[in-house]
């Protein structure tokens, strides 16, 4: 066979195989290192049915699916997802809007994902800008009512819990937490218990909350998702200890949480460091507190629920360690990156409540 013909055949094979790859849905499963290619054949709020390229069929619990890259999804969707993961939420929302416009896929799941991701990014912004909470709540509720069997249904419930807690609406947070408890996934049930404990904390029922947190923290975890929930429960426990002024115990528990968390689990670590900062501050250990908050600024600034709080404290603690220029820097960062956060308001007017 002449060389040119052989090359052409190889090229043709490559093109064909590439089209096979691009013509598949790619599913990422939590705790599984490799991604699976194939076809999503069905989606409910409890499971995703999937057929691999090798013809293997399986049902994956919805809570274990971390991402689906849809066949034919718009390119803008991928970069918007990256923006969201990097904490650039407004850019993410813009990206999702572009993805919605560019979407040519007839797969309704693509649109559903775009819609949910948009709402999720909006909700995350609202967590740092309480004025936006009512709108976010309304949209999420609409989403749930229109997509009662979506794989995002229970995630939406989780967001509703967070938003209502920030909004200090215990009853609504409790309703959302109970909805979450109806999910089939064990980690979601654990999340529901944690949410209910946080509601109890909001209602100043520290003992009740502590019992709930202890129950979850004492469960046997069957996978990374459940491990993560246990850590969240320990964070809640640490908060209870903090509220009881048991600072050394809280600091020790938070250390445990940090060490047990996955190195890149920014959410758990951000919260743990903020709580540690609080405990150190309360124990008059300003430099330790500064270092704890600094972890959030330097390593976990994508965690928008905690970054402004850390910046607020840094803006005060830098002065305590004789670096007032750095205090100004932190204050400027807080003001410019989170103009509507309660922490920014507190910075401007110390009488304002925050957190």
């Amino acid at each position: 066979m002449p060389r040119t013909v052989r090359l052409s055949l190889v090229a043709l094979m490559l093109v064909c195989s590439a089209s096979v790859v691009t013509a598949a849905d790619v599913l990422e499963q939590r705790g599984v290192a490799t991604k699976s290619s194939g076809k999503v054949t069905g989606v409910t709020k409890d499971k995703v049915s999937f057929e691999t390229t090798k013809g293997e069929k399986k049902d994956i619990p919805a809570n274990e699916v971390s991402e689906i890259l849809w066949d034919g999804e718009p390119a803008a969707l991928k970069s918007a997802r990256n923006h969201e993961a990097g904490g650039r939420l407004q850019q993410a929302i813009d990206g999702f809007a572009k993805a919605a416009t560019d979407n040519k896929s007839d797969n309704p799941n693509v649109k559903l994902d775009i819609d949910y991701f948009t709402l999720r990014a909006q909700a995350r912004i609202a967590l740092t800008d309480p004025k936006r909470i009512p709108d976010a709540l309304k949209k999420l509720a609409d989403f749930q009512s229109k997509n009662g069997d979506s794989r995002h249904f229970y995630n939406a419930a989780g967001l509703l819990v967070d938003l209502n807690l920030v909004n200090k609406d215990a009853a609504a947070a409790k309703t959302a937490a109970e909805t979450l408890g109806k999910a089939s996934g064990n980690d979601q049930k654990m999340a529901s218990k944690i949410a209910l404990a946080r509601v109890a904390l909001l209602e100043n029922k520290t003992a009740e909350a502590q019992t709930e947190f202890e129950a979850v923290a004492g469960m046997t975890a069957m996978g990374p998702a459940e491990e993560s929930r246990k850590l969240e429960a320990k964070l809640g426990l640490a908060r209870c200890l903090q509220l009881q002024s048991k600072f050394p115990e809280a600091i020790k528990l938070l250390d445990e949480v940090i060490n047990q968390s996955a190195p890149e689990d920014s959410k758990v670590q951000a919260e743990a460091y903020v709580r540690q900062g609080d405990c150190f501050q309360a124990s008059a250990k300003n430099k330790d507190a500064l270092l704890a908050y600094l972890h959030v600024d330097v390593l976990f600034s994508t965690e928008k629920s905690f970054h402004p709080e850390a910046l607020y404290h840094l803006s005060r603690l830098w002065t305590a360690v004789q670096q007032p220029d750095r205090a100004n820097e932190a204050a400027d960062k807080l003001t410019s990156e989170y103009p509507n956060s309660p922490w920014t308001e507190k910075l401007k007017s110390p009488a304002a409540p925050a957190g």
Partner: protein, 1154 residues
């Protein structure tokens, strides 16, 4: 926390209330304190709470609205949002109106008018800003009108205030006797407020001009009128701050009228004043900013000068860099750089550098926000265009990572340029360019990290983190660097994919904590030490046996030395493997450490002292280790080779051990008689200046001769002892030191040695003490050859013996002998003017006073101190001694005692109050004030705390001596409460060491117990910024006090008196400083040679004493460049071969690898 703080501070107020001052004073002090700390919410809450109380005195109730307004006005100043600030000002205005309506003739009515005026000016300024906003273009005229209306109303209020103040001022009468302190001060205050109100009238006119368009003729005419008003104020009050501010505004008016020459002339005049106070520094910052604006105009276009002046100001005022003026100055510098780059003759490379620097600055300014946010954003856009940046940053991790790596690789290039540059200007330029490069590199690395995805390669992510850690280290952002380094190290220690990144990061984190520890102004070094220990431990445990672990062991050992945990230091050094390159060096450190551990153990009180066998084991092991190292290393030296520093140090330590164990001949062999005795290593040529560190340093050489002297005393060899003294004096003279303080410290050192011996071997102690007494007595009895040197030594030794003797009768004989020696010295000096210098004579007289005091001869001590105060009024040690004379007298319980507490506290004020003659004594209160207001306050922190402690002690003791019950019962409780408040105030102001805290806390608890209260600990380490703020408040208070004192002094003293006093004080001050320096220098010598060698700075024997010290040096590995895995720093040892002897300093990090 706020509530907790509120409760704590509230308790302090309650204590204050027990000492009935004026009814309003405690409440207002408290509110003012809260405002000073910017706890506006708490202040308002407090005022609300107090207002509702039924038992509130009417005078306090009346001014609550006024205080609320004052709080809100200050709150408004901190609010960045104009609308929010306006709303707050509106509330303030309402409270002021409420106050003025209810109290039109209240003494604070004038102040209320001024405050109301300021509220209106604030609102007017907001309207001006709004009028200039492009979004308000169609409402421009409305906003301008609104602004002018506010200014007009404000002017009326200021004029009214000025009239009221003028009347109040005139009511004081033409002359107020300065002796009527309160009235005199009140008149001065009123005058200041009057001038301030006049200045406000003029300022409001300047502001009014801003409410016109520049083309409007009213703009020019209003500015002209304002300039005239400022001129008048300046003419009348040119020596006052308000006068200087008027001058500045006059310049601003000229500047805005386009008369730059006149404006620059006035700015130059204002900048020529000494900036010796915060007020002047603020004024000059503002003036500098205005000057740069002038120079940056097209008309002047002196951009190079702007760049230079801005740099000078930034360098001189780092603490003000992010203030409004600092931001303005940086903005002007960025503008100047942008314009410089436009010049035709700028080379492309230079242009790029200048623009990059401008871009970096513009980004910084932009981040600061405020009024410069919009213009700096516009500048960033222009600069990006000029630099051909497309303005878009990478959108994915890989691209950002690649770009960041390119920038990291250029770090080396930048550092090489700085290193190769010879010309200081060139170095400065490269340095600036380097800083801009680091800023951009950090930005890109952060961007890359924010763009990482769940599937990004962890090695690349960690390389980014490590590189950022390194960049932060270079930028001296030590804690950011440490946080990143420690994260990679601890979370990825076992991650094979990350290769050596975790261990490199750990090492860098250790270096970063060390850098933080060494940073100027660090007020909490203990945490940094703990962090260094933590990460060093981690390195040793995680990567055992590696070169980094060995370096970490050395570092860890040194850190334990820094915190004086000698046992752990020794344990750590012992872990260094015998086959490591640094083994022998570490063994030297180990030997010295063991000796330090033994000394420390002996010095501990009985309950805490380790068993004698353990201490003996330390001592023996120290000797064995040192002998072994010397025996290994010394034979390797060539015949002509001089004893190296580390061996000289080891031999000196061995000699100390020999002296301690009465092996005097052995000590002399090591020090003086062996072929390679230590004296051969410390010798310098005649007339040659001794270096600041190393074995030839004055400190080391002195220690050698002290040990030689000690050996000859042990051998009862008078002649050779005198020779050693002569050598000591020679070394001291060469160092510009007086010998007497050295002898005083030596006396303490010998006393400690005797104490140790008493604990280790009581029989031997008796023999040595007897031998020492006999030696001293022989020396004192010997008349021939007696000189200043020998008599001073004898005096100092006797005083030390007296201080160390619990038996008062025996101690009195020692003090009497000391007095004899000093009296003889003074008599000889009287007969022979060449016998000693005047400062030496004064120092001897001071020691004589101390002898008399310690011997309980208080009248004689007072007589002596009176003479000294005449000659050395401003000397801290003399004033301190005077306080102790009266305090000890008071404590002695004689019939004269009770009134002496007051003299100890208040000096002349108390003497004159009891119709006694003043002696030029300040007392503890005045002394503490002066120390706090000293430009070198930090240097005198110990003296300051000593004074503050003794104020509280004297007050408490005086109160305790008052009878129970009866008329004085309230006063007794009040005074004790005051003492508690004084302690609490000090604890809130100063970040104390453990020992200092324990001392103050002990007194605090003692007083509470005496008051039948449950003793509690004082609050320390105040939250957040209270330390700095409390210091600022104190400085402000002191500044005010200084002004009053200055006025009084001016009126009281004639010019001739001033000149005479200044001359004699200058002499006394210099000798005092010399004396203090000498004492400090020798304070820590103890028995350890190593501390003499480790740092040229003196250290106190406490953890927090490390304020004066530095971390041992660390060599930092550079971030990996093109290849992710950086080479190990094996071989780059933590310290040079002379680490045991060289002064430890942090070595600059190595260059990044290309």
């Amino acid at each position: 926390m706020a509530r907790h703080r509120f409760a704590l501070v509230f308790l302090s107020v309650l204590c204050l209330l027990t000492s009935r001052l004026s009814a309003a004073e405690p409440y207002l002090n408290f509110v003012e304190g809260l405002r000073d700390r910017e706890y506006f919410d708490t202040a308002l809450e407090y005022l609300e709470a107090v207002e509702g109380r039924a038992d509130l005195p009417p005078d306090v109730k009346a001014i609550i609205p006024f205080e609320k307004a004052a709080t809100l006005i200050q709150l408004a100043k901190t609010q960045r949002n104009p609308e929010a600030a306006n709303a707050t000002l509106g509330r303030a205005q309402a409270f002021l109106e409420q106050f003025l309506k209810a109290n039109p003739d209240h003494p604070k009515a004038a102040k209320a008018n001024s405050d109301a005026g300021n509220v209106l000016v604030g609102k007017g300024k907001v309207a001006v800003i709004q009028s200039r906003s492009p979004s308000n273009a169609n409402k421009r005229a409305d906003f301008q009108k609104q602004a002018r209306d506010n200014f007009e109303a404000a002017r009326k209020l200021f004029q009214d205030a000025a009239t009221k103040y003028d009347k109040q001022w005139k009511d004081f009468g033409a002359f107020v006797d300065p002796k009527e302190t309160e009235k005199f001060e009140a008149k001065n205050d009123t005058e200041r407020m009057k001038i301030r109100a006049e200045l406000d009238v003029a300022i409001v006119q300047y502001e009014e001009a801003q409410a016109y368009d520049k083309e409007d003729p009213k703009y020019q005419s209003t500015l002209k009128d304002a300039a005239g008003k400022f001129e008048l104020i300046h003419q009348k009050h040119r020596s006052q701050v308000a006068g200087l501010y008027a001058r500045m505004y006059q310049g601003k008016c000229f500047e805005e009228q386009g008369d730059l020459l006149k404006a620059l002339g006035l700015y130059g005049e204002l900048l020529s004043h000494n900036a010796d106070s915060n007020v002047m520094k603020n004024l000059q910052a503002q003036v500098t900013h205005f000057k740069l604006i002038c120079l940056n105009t097209d008309k002047k276009a002196d951009y190079i000068l702007v760049d230079k002046l801005a740099d000078e100001w930034i360098k001189a005022n780092p603490q003000m860099i992010r203030t409004r003026y600092g931001t303005g100055i940086r903005y002007e510098k960025a503008r100047a750089l942008e314009n410089m780059a436009k010049a035709r003759d700028v080379k492309p490379d230079d242009k790029k550098k200048v623009l990059t620097e401008a871009l970096g600055l513009a980004r910084l300014v932009n981040r600061t926000g405020g009024e410069y946010r919009d213009p700096s954003q516009a500048m960033i856009t222009r600069l990006m265009a000029a630099l051909n940046y497309d303005g878009t940053d990478p959108k994915d991790f890989e691209t950002a990572y690649g770009k960041a790596r390119e920038l990291v690789n250029k770090i080396k290039e930048n550092k090489d340029l700085i290193r190769a540059a010879k010309d200081p200007e060139e170095i400065k330029r490269y340095q600036k360019s380097f800083e801009a490069h680091l800023e951009e590199t950090a930005r890109m690395l952060n961007l890359a990290l924010s763009l990482r995805k769940a599937d990004s390669k962890i090695k690349e992510v960690n390389t980014c983190r490590y590189s950022l850690c390194y960049v932060y280290y270079e930028q001296k952002r030590s804690y950011e660097s440490a946080v990143l380094g420690e994260f990679v190290a601890r979370r990825y220690a076992k991650d094979e994919e990350s290769e050596s990144l975790p261990s490199d990061s750990a090492y860098l984190a250790m270096a970063a904590y060390a850098q933080a520890y060494n940073a100027k102004g660090n007020n909490d070094k203990q945490t940094d030490i703990e962090k260094v220990i933590g990460i060093s431990d981690f390195i040793v445990a995680t990567w055992p046996g590696t070169p980094k672990a060995i370096e970490a062991l050395e570092m860890l050992g040194k850190m334990y030395l820094q915190i004086k945990d000698y046992g752990k230091a020794a344990e750590t050094f012992e872990k260094v493997p015998a086959d490591s390159a640094s083994y022998l060096k570490v063994q030297l450190m180990l030997g010295q450490t063991l000796w330090e551990a033994a000394i420390e153990g002996y010095n501990k009180p009985e309950g805490e002292r380790p068993p004698a066998a353990k201490l003996l084991e330390y001592q023996t092991k120290a000797q064995e280790t040192l002998k072994k190292v010397i025996a290994t290393l010394e034979p390797k030296l060539a015949d002509t080779e001089v004893l190296p520093d580390d061996l000289a140090t080891a031999k000196l330590t061995l000699a100390q051990i020999a002296n301690q164990t009465t092996q005097y001949a052995e000590a002399l062999k090591l020090l003086e008689t062996d072929k390679r005795a230590v004296v051969t290593a410390i010798a310098v040529a005649e007339g040659e200046k001794r270096p600041a560190s190393g074995v030839k340093s004055g400190r080391f050489a002195q220690e050698v001769y002290k040990q030689i002297l000690r050996s000859y005393i042990g051998l009862q060899n008078l002649e050779n002892a005198r020779k050693a003294m002569t050598e000591l004096e020679k070394i001291a003279t060469g160092q510009g030191q007086d010998i007497l303080p050295i002898y005083i410290a030596l006396g303490k050192q010998f006393k400690e040695e005797l104490d140790r011996l008493a604990k280790a071997n009581p029989d031997q102690h008796k023999t040595v003490l007897k031998s020492f007494e006999s030696f001293l007595s022989n020396m004192l009895a010997r008349k021939e050859g007696q000189n200043y040197n020998s008599l001073a030594w004898i005096g100092a030794m006797y005083v030390s013996l007296g201080e160390g003797t619990p038996d008062k009768t025996v101690a009195a004989t020692y003090f009497a002998q000391g007095s004899t020696a000093y009296n003889e010295l003074i008599a000889k000096a009287g007969g022979d003017p060449t016998f000693c210098t005047d400062p030496q004579l004064l120092a001897a007289k001071a020691q004589l006073v101390a002898c008399k005091r310690k011997a309980g001869e208080f009248e004689a001590a007072v007589e002596g101190i009176t003479e000294l105060l005449q000659k050395r009024k401003n000397a801290i040690d003399t004033q301190t001694e005077a306080c102790y004379v009266f305090q000890d007298w008071a404590a002695a319980g004689t019939t004269e005692s009770p009134k002496q507490w007051a003299v100890a506290m208040s000096g002349d004020k108390a003497l004159t109050a009891t119709k006694q003659k003043p002696i030029g004594m300040w007392g503890w209160a005045e002394l503490s004030k002066r120390l706090m207001q000293s430009p070198e306050a930090a240097k005198y922190m110990d003296s300051f705390l000593e004074a503050r402690y003794n104020i509280a002690l004297c007050r408490f003791k005086a109160a305790a001596a008052m009878p129970e019950g009866g008329k004085q019962a309230t006063k007794k409780t009040g005074e004790m409460g005051r003492a508690i408040t004084e302690i609490q105030r000090t604890a809130l102001q100063i970040n104390m060491t453990e020992a200092q805290y324990a001392k103050f806390n002990g007194l605090h608890r003692e007083i509470q117990t005496a008051m039948n209260l449950t003793p509690t600990d004082i609050v320390r380490n105040p939250p957040e910024s209270e330390v700095a703020e409390a210091k600022a408040a104190e400085a402000k208070e002191a500044e005010e006090d200084k002004k009053v004192q200055a006025v009084k002094k001016k009126k009281r003293q004639t010019v001739a008196d001033n000149k005479r006093a200044a001359k004699s004080e200058e002499t006394a001050q210099s000798s005092s400083m010399l004396l203090m320096g000498g004492v400090l220098l020798l304070f820590v010598v103890g028995g350890g040679v190593w501390f003499v060698m480790r740092s040229s700075k003196p250290k106190r024997p406490s953890l927090a004493s490390l304020a004066a010290g530095e971390m041992p040096k660390i060599v930092v590995a550079a971030p990996p460049a093109k290849k992710a895995a950086p080479k190990s720093t094996a071989g780059a040892t933590a310290s040079s071969a002379g680490a045991a002897t060289a002064s430890p300093k942090t070595k600059p990090p190595t260059k990044p690898k290309a």
